[in-house]
Amino acid sequence: MPPFWIMISVLALAACAYVLGRARAIRSVDGNTRRLHSRPGYYAWNAALFTAVPALMLLLVWTLAQPLAVNQVVRGHLPADVMADAESRSLVLADVQRTARGLTAAVARGVLSAGEAAALGADDAPAMDRLAEADIEIAKTPEVLAAARDYRRINSAAGRVLTGLALILALGGMAFALMRTTPQFRARNVVEQVVRGLLILCSLIAIATTVGIVLSLVFESIHFFRLYPWQDFFFGTEWTPSFGGGSKLGMLPLLWGTLYISLIALLVAVPIGLFAAIYMSEYATPRVRTWVKPVIEVLAGIPTIVYGLFALVTVGPLIRDWIAIPTGLGSSNSSVMTAGIVMGIMLIPFVSSLSDDIINAVPQSLRDGSLGLGSTPSETIRNVVLPAALPGIVGAILLAASRAIGETMIVVLGAGAMAKISPNPFEAMTTITVKIVGQLTGDNDFASPETLVAFALGLTLFVITLGLNVFALYIVRKYREQYE
């Protein structure tokens, strides 16, 4: 049975266990459910969980472990010189798998009988001809063919064992749970423990993924720094990668572009977003607010590639024709200014929405206190509300900043791909993210520094945004208690 059907069967058994567990619990007290320790639903869930969880866990572990184990066995057939090199080994193993799949397909389509497929040798010319006719590709070398036969044999045997084990485990779990279904049994506590385990598991998955991503970045970066001196990466002012060798991979032009564009974006987003937030939370009537706030938040729902198009088609030419060319500062369609302004527009809802929530969280009593002393609403906002909300607003701005630093699409289309350090905002520049994309598109040789630099850049970016986020959290925590 394929794993999918095993899973369906196990779930069906769990459903049966649910019904049986419930019925058994109710019968054990002759229908008077108040005598049960837990409500009948908990007995039902207990039975279902004991049926499904062990069997599904076995299924998961087995399907993950089986390929590894089978590969280990199959290796025995293959010549040692092929297996010595990691790259040729993976090629041969792929060939074995392809052949095994081909044989299975041949059996399924009636080209070969099951027996023929199990005993097929490289010298069996008529069978080979039929396979070629049916357009099924299999390897012709005897070793690979033998390995493929073994691969199929072990896999099908393992599949049978797995099916049997999983069903036995499911039935055993069901029997165990049903046996324990007595009025004294604390089904609720057991179910709650299982659910708690489930919750822990989910959070562990999130953490493990993060750790995994960071570790892969770190390892590949270490790889990179073995091939390329770190001083040149961190302090080099020239970015001229060439896959032929002799690249200069200095990060500074990219960092400059990233920070410059983010700065312009924040200069656009922070005043507009903050003033919009002040209007919405302090001046707008509830009716206006219910309209304006969602409309501003729609901005956050626009895909960044659409902003990129907007930058490329509208803002870029506009800035070039009306500002850059008349002032003689540049003639490029893409520029730091274009990307910065468009990115700033994208960030407005982040700043305004978060700041609006934060300003609303300032207690009304502070406003009353200030108004009660005879200050005007605007004095109240400037002297009381904004200072009280400041930590949160700083947090919102830093969050927007880390968005800006990580943004790719708007920069690709708006700012171009020229790595350059220049103070002129009407020139094309580029950012770390764009260059990561650039270094990883196309054919990659993961042993060359030109490709691996992407990981070092990614790690740098990660550290910058992490630092910003930590700093934002620190600010928010440090000043939060002041008005509570």
Partner: protein, 267 residues
């Protein structure tokens, strides 16, 4: 304490000038008629207490006196409220200026998240009551002394006001209101968040403030009303049931509802 204060009170309320003259005041919150036909005269340099069960409208009426109800969109006020003969709901009156002369202290201490000094200096600064730092220092010290807080905080004026204890915070809020030198000080249950000792300090303070201006206090505690006030108004279901000298209200109530309330049968 209660009886002692009552006994030693020798204020001739009849001789005082009328500060607030309110006639036929109506307040609606949306469709709810919260204040009905209230007529009341609040005297200068007197403590007037508003008492009554929860939801009777006493806080609402208090908030009318400095137009704090303007900040609530659904509230609507009708009738005449004259402060020194001028209608405070007149179109020409700026509520901001009104609130500068009719200060307010709230139920919960609400010091700004600023230093103690800046809290007290807040009003004088926005109203330009001091021409230089020395004058401002003087105003702050005077207000803090007036609120009986100076000795406790004079060495830590730059610390934040939210770090004080509840009673100190409330006295800071009173100092903040006093610093703008108002003509009337409104207090909305100023002691409800305080412990008995802090309450006693604030009550003492209220009695002292009476020499400078008129104080209107909303309170849930009848003992407090009896201790600090010279005039008492009893509100019930939005109506002003009885208004008179505190001694008379508590010893010889005219209205059966007042008698029921002060003897604890309703409310």
């Amino acid at each position: 304490m209660n009886d002692m204060r009552l006994a030693e009170r020798t204020v001739d309320t009849d001789a005082k000038a009328i500060k607030f003259q309110c006639r036929d005041v109506q307040v609606w919150y949306g469709d709810k008629h919260a204040i009905k036909d209230v007529d009341v005269d609040i005297l200068d340099k007197t403590v007037t207490a508003f008492i009554g069960p929860s939801g009777c409208g006493k806080s609402t009426f208090l908030r009318c006196l400095n137009r704090m109800n303007d900040t609530i969109p659904i509230a609507r006020v009708e009738g005449r409220m004259l402060l020194d003969g001028e209608d405070i709901y007149d179109r020409r009156v700026d509520p901001v200026q009104l609130r500068a002369s009719v200060g307010m202290v709230f139920q919960k201490p609400n010091p700004f998240p600023k230093s103690i000094y800046d809290n007290v200096a807040y009003g004088p600064r926005i109203h330009g009551l001091a021409r230089n730092k020395a004058e401002l220092d003087e105003v702050v010290e005077k207000a803090l002394r007036g609120a009986a807080l100076w000795d406790e905080v004079k060495d830590r004026l730059s610390e934040t006001g939210t770090g004080l204890s509840g009673g100190q915070q409330q006295r800071l809020c009173i100092a903040r209101a006093v610093a703008t030198s108002p003509e009337v000080l409104l207090m909305d249950e100023p002691c409800s968040a305080l412990d008995p000792i802090a309450t006693a300090q604030v009550e003492e303070l209220i009695d002292e403030l009476r020499s400078q201006f008129s104080v209107v206090i909303v309170t849930h505690s009848m003992q407090q009303a009896a201790r600090v006030s010279q005039k008492t108004a009893f509100f019930h279901l939005g109506n002003l049931v009885e208004y008179g000298a505190t001694d008379d209200i508590f010893t010889r109530p005219q209205d059966p509802r007042t008698e029921s309330y002060i003897s604890g049968r309703i409310g």
